[in-house]
């Protein structure tokens, strides 16, 4: 393969400074591009807050990696706060690097105008945008949950969005969508890490032929050996990994545990490997504290706490199941892919990106979202498994590696040289 592509990867954050799923995926892809034979050069440009305010300056982080001190005004208009650097520092960087492809992950904190500047600097630069959530569709932090409640939202509309945000008129929401869509018109192709998210954007207005699904890549290693069981022991160790916030369903998980009769409950162990509870609201923190105390006293619950990415495999070694009890749609939760890399089946809510990745009875268990009784039953059922767990483990398909993920993207870039040719890729 000849080295033809010069790829600038853009992200809303740098993993050196922030450990969100989107920026990690973007950075891993950047490194994979650099190692790919088909790529002549690759760079990483991440938005950053370096404590100096929104200066608009672009600075070097390390070789081929840049930081842009940019921010967006708000999630409603999604305009860049530093307008001058769009046609200044950013345009200069484009002219200097001369990318053939800009692969953007997210536009949060960047604003949408950078898409327009790319085409203004060089209309032949192809833009691909990976969508990590529903921010264009939903003003409520892109969650597609009704504001002020945890009610799931199926589809945006001018009137419904106004009901969630009464200070904005339906006409305001028309303007917001108009602004997003006209900027998305400049994008040559969209990538979605899940089919669920892809379908949501198709319903919203992106033509189906312009958006493809490529799962996030993972660092592939052999599956971890199953946890060694003692005599008469079953697969009764569970763990939650990730951020702790009201959308992740931790409170639901703990309440489900309480529904299990005490005698049976004491046969299982749940670990929480979670971070950032202290940043949540006080009522939420108090609720979690009240729920965890009796379970910890019983020895059913272990609050392990945050972890670094390199610690993940050792922590998964000690458990049998990974729990994803989220009460919002999720997109393509990284933890599901990580669990599969480690050979751990997943018990997840049966909606959105979780339902897409976790197939009940194939690679895990699918549980009714938000249903404490169902979760209670599922935990008891899983905790009693031995051979069935082996079957589920064997049903796990290895996720894409970073290299495979990069190759899939490069195929898209190669074959989707224009919007019209996206049909070919889809086929």
């Amino acid at each position: 393969m000849s080295q033809s592509e010069r790829i600038l990867v853009m992200a809303h954050a740098h993993p050196d400074l922030s450990l969100g799923g989107g920026e990690i995926a973007a950075y891993n892809l950047f490194n994979a591009y650099r190692q790919d034979e088909g790529v002549a050069a690759a760079w990483f440009l991440a938005r950053a807050d370096l404590g100096a305010g929104v200066t608009g300056e672009i600075s070097l982080r390390r070789e081929d990696e840049y930081l842009w001190q940019q921010a967006s005004m708000d999630n409603f208009r999604m305009k860049a706060r530093d307008q001058a650097s769009l046609t200044g520092a950013f345009a200069d960087l484009l002219r200097a690097l001369r990318p053939t492809v800009v692969h953007a992950h997210h536009y949060l904190h960047l604003g949408l105008e950078f898409l327009r500047v790319i085409k203004a600097v060089d209309p032949t630069i192809r833009i691909y945008l990976t969508l990590h959530e529903f921010l264009a569709i939903c003003l409520n932090d892109g969650q597609m949950i009704k504001a002020g409640s945890f009610k799931l939202c199926e589809q945006s509309s001018l009137q419904d969005c106004h009901r969630c945000f009464p200070d904005k008129t339906p006409a305001d929401f028309w303007l917001r969508k108009h602004y997003f869509q006209r900027h998305f018109d400049l994008v040559d192709g969209f990538i979605s890490p899940s089919e669920f998210l892809r379908q949501r954007y198709i319903t919203w207005g992106i033509p189906s032929e312009r958006i493809v699904m490529i799962e996030n890549g993972q660092a592939i290693s052999p599956k971890l050996p199953p946890r060694k069981l003692a005599a008469n022991e079953s697969r009764n160790r569970f763990a939650f990994f990730g951020q702790i916030n009201p959308y992740k369903g931790i409170d639901l998980l703990l309440e489900s545990l309480m529904l299990i009769p005490t005698e049976q409950r004491q046969n299982l162990l749940v670990q929480i490997h979670g971070a950032n509870l202290h940043t949540q609201s006080i009522p939420f923190q108090e609720k979690i504290a009240a729920l965890r105390a009796p379970l910890e006293a019983e020895g059913v619950l272990q609050w392990v706490g945050p972890y670094q990415p390199h610690e993940l495999h050792s922590r998964m070694q000690a458990i049998d199941w990974v729990l994803v009890p989220s009460i919002w749609w999720e997109n393509s939760p990284m933890v599901i892919q990580e669990a599969f890399v480690c050979g751990r089946p997943v018990i997840a809510s049966d909606i959105g990106g979780m339902a897409e990745k976790v197939k009940d009875g194939v690679n895990g268990l699918s549980v009714a979202m938000g249903n404490r009784l169902a979760w209670s039953t599922a935990l008891q059922r899983a905790a009693a498994m031995t051979d069935d767990w082996d079957l589920l483990t064997s049903g796990i398909r290895a996720p894409l590696s970073y290299g495979q993920c990069a190759d899939a993207h490069l195929q898209v870039f190669t074959r989707m040289v224009s919007r019209q040719s996206l049909d070919d890729v889809q086929s």
Partner: protein
């Protein structure tokens, strides 16, 4: 125990027999130590004034207070009102005292509050009651006495008329005085307005209307005519200052009721109209009232304002190079929300034909945002390289005036006027709008299908609708809120849907015709209804007006034409504009209606002459 505050609320006095009397002090005036206290009492309490705890000499008169009597269910002719006069050297701890009988001690009020005046302003004089006693000479100085005499009624005759001048406005530009007030009088009394030069004018030419507050306060006093107590009188008068007086003549006897200095009316026609029309009278008679009072004033101010515009400097900025051959000029007045401009640019920049053939002219019509717009448009132009100029005409000109300013700088043979909250939804819209004008000489105006943000039609047609209650045509939006698929006014001609009227939200026409018609009519207040007037211009010139349903644009402001029935100020202005529209186009509308042209409705009964 706190002393009763007789100025704040009525004080109840309970005598030994258990009978209640109520007492209230309405106002206290202090003119250099000459005190006048006005109030009412429902019984026969003895009243006195105290300074520093000691009684001072005072003189008391009484008058009827029908409002108080009615409230307490007493005979309305009972003299419940009182006025106390006193001249004092000190007002330290000035209190009102009262008692039921001479054997009782006085009950004192809390210290009275008042403002000290150093001369008798006309407002003070006017506020004095209509009945005046013969005051003891020692109570009053001669100058005050003289002024009071002017206003006095002899108490022995009783009131045969009451009234007041509430407001006097002077319009310097038109030389008109507008006098607002109310009168009630018995049939033998003749009410007169005396101008500063001494000339008398009857109220016969005034617009008269019912005033609820007057009727409630005075009720059905014997001999009074409260039905249309209020009046608005317009009088031509060369001076701009001097007191104006309301007086009553009964036989040979002449008495003054009220006098007032005038206030200058602003020369800003919109502000002036708001000021004039804010005086409430029934909406159903507003058109007749305007015909008698306000119309010529507002028209005069609008003409003066338009003349003033021509003397103002125009700020102009050009961004980008306009096409060498400019076919089309798109003129967009901007008032208020600037963020909408970016949404238009989002569309314009993606329209290849527009970029190659059209110039964009933004006319800022809002002094509050002119400077900000200059910064915003410069920043936007770096992202949206559309050739454009922006203009600021130094004054808020309204939509029509701003359009005319933009047109004066336009180079295209075709013009599109549009609101800044109208957003095209696909490229090619501008070329499509003017194509019929290029091909069909019989066409005069072309408009798009306007949708609301929710995708429904703002209207399939704008039609004239006769409003019986106001004797005016209003503009009716047909099929508003329906999906375009339910449009029953589908094309009946090859070049679009014939229309009676077009919305100013977006109108395309030839430059030559625009000039021939004299541009947008600036004599409508706030630009409302100038669009329907432009449509009538086209009809008058036998030019066809059409809508192209295939050209779709989103108009974010759902209501463009204000309806007259709401009763707010905006609807009063709408009545002004609709009255003017009716005067101008009555004949042509009747002719169109007789020809069976859709959208021109005539009333079932003949239309009366306006003002009758």
């Amino acid at each position: 125990m706190a002393l009763p505050d007789v100025q704040a609320s009525p004080v109840r006095h309970l005598d030994a027999a258990g009978n209640s009397q109520f007492l209230k002090l309405d106002s206290v005036q202090n003119l250099d130590g000459r005190l006048t206290l006005y109030g009412w009492v429902t019984g026969s309490l003895e009243l006195a004034l105290f300074v520093g705890g000691k009684p001072v000499d005072c003189y008391k008169t009484t008058s009827a207070r029908p409002d108080v009597a009615r409230h307490f269910g007493l005979n309305t002719t009972t003299q419940l009102g009182f006025t106390l006069f006193a001249q004092v050297s000190s007002t330290q701890d000035l209190c009102l005292g009262w008692r039921a009988g001479s054997a009782d001690p006085y009950i004192l009020s809390s210290p009275l509050s008042f403002e000290v005046q150093h001369d008798l302003g006309l407002q003070s004089a006017q506020s004095l009651p209509g009945l005046w006693p013969d005051l003891p000479d020692q109570m009053l100085s001669s100058d005050w006495r003289e002024r009071l005499d002017e206003l006095a009624y002899p108490p022995e005759t009783g009131p045969c008329a009451m009234g007041a001048i509430d407001k006097v406005l002077v319009c310097e530009q038109t030389g008109d005085w507008i006098i607002y007030g109310w009168v009630v009088h018995n049939p033998t009394a003749m009410m007169l307005i005396e101008m500063p030069d001494g000339s008398d004018h009857s109220l016969d030419g005034a617009y008269r209307y019912y005033r609820e507050d007057v009727a409630r306060a005075l009720g059905d006093e014997a001999g009074y005519r409260c039905g249309e107590a209020a009046f608005i009188l317009k009088l031509p008068f060369a001076q701009t200052s001097g007191a104006i007086k309301l007086k009553v003549r009964v036989g040979d006897e002449l008495r003054y009721l009220s006098l007032l200095e005038p206030t200058l009316l602003t020369s800003d026609p919109v502000l002036a109209a708001k000021h004039l029309l804010a005086v409430p009278s029934a909406l159903s008679g507003l058109s007749r009232r305007m015909q008698r009072v306000e119309n010529t004033i507002i028209e005069g101010l609008l003409q003066a304002e338009v003349s003033r515009w021509s003397q103002l400097g125009v700020t102009q900025r050009q961004f980008g190079q306009a096409p060498a051959q400019t076919t089309l000029s798109i003129i967009i007045p901007v008032y208020g929300d600037l963020r909408l401009v970016e949404h238009q640019l989002l569309e314009f920049v993606m329209d290849d034909w527009l970029m190659a053939n059209a110039e964009l002219i933004y006319v800022i019509d809002d002094g509050r945002t002119a400077a900000l717009f200059e910064q915003e448009i410069a920043a936007l132009h770096t992202l949206y390289p559309v050739a454009m100029q922006w203009l600021w005409g130094g004054a808020h000109r309204g939509f029509a005036g701003a359009c005319n300013l933009g047109a004066s700088r336009a180079r295209g043979d075709y013009l599109i006027f549009m609101h800044h909250d109208v957003i095209p939804v696909s490229a090619g819209w501008a070329a499509e709008l003017i194509a019929p004008l290029q091909q069909h000489a019989e066409l005069g105006l072309v408009g798009p299908q306007l949708l609301s943000a929710d995708g429904t039609m703002q209207h399939s047609q704008l039609e004239l609708d006769w409003h019986t209650a106001f004797d005016l045509w209003t503009v009716k939006a047909s099929e508003r809120g329906l999906p375009p698929a339910l449009n029953t006014r589908m094309p009946t001609a090859s070049i679009g849907v014939p229309a009676a009227l077009l919305s100013s939200a977006c109108i395309a026409l030839r430059r030559s015709q625009f000039d021939r018609w004299g541009g947008w009519d600036t004599a409508y207040l706030m630009g409302d209804f100038a669009d329907v007037d432009l449509s009538m211009q086209a009809h008058e010139q036998a030019s066809q007006v059409v809508i192209l349903p295939q050209v779709v644009m989103v108009h974010l402001q759902r209501l463009s034409h204000v309806q007259p029935g709401a009763g707010d100020l905006r609807s009063r202005i709408a009545i002004y504009n609709l009255s003017r529209f009716k005067r101008r186009w009555l004949g042509l509308i009747a002719q169109r209606a007789a020809d069976g042209h859709a959208g021109f409705a005539m009333p079932a009964k003949p239309i009366g002459k306006e003002g009758e």
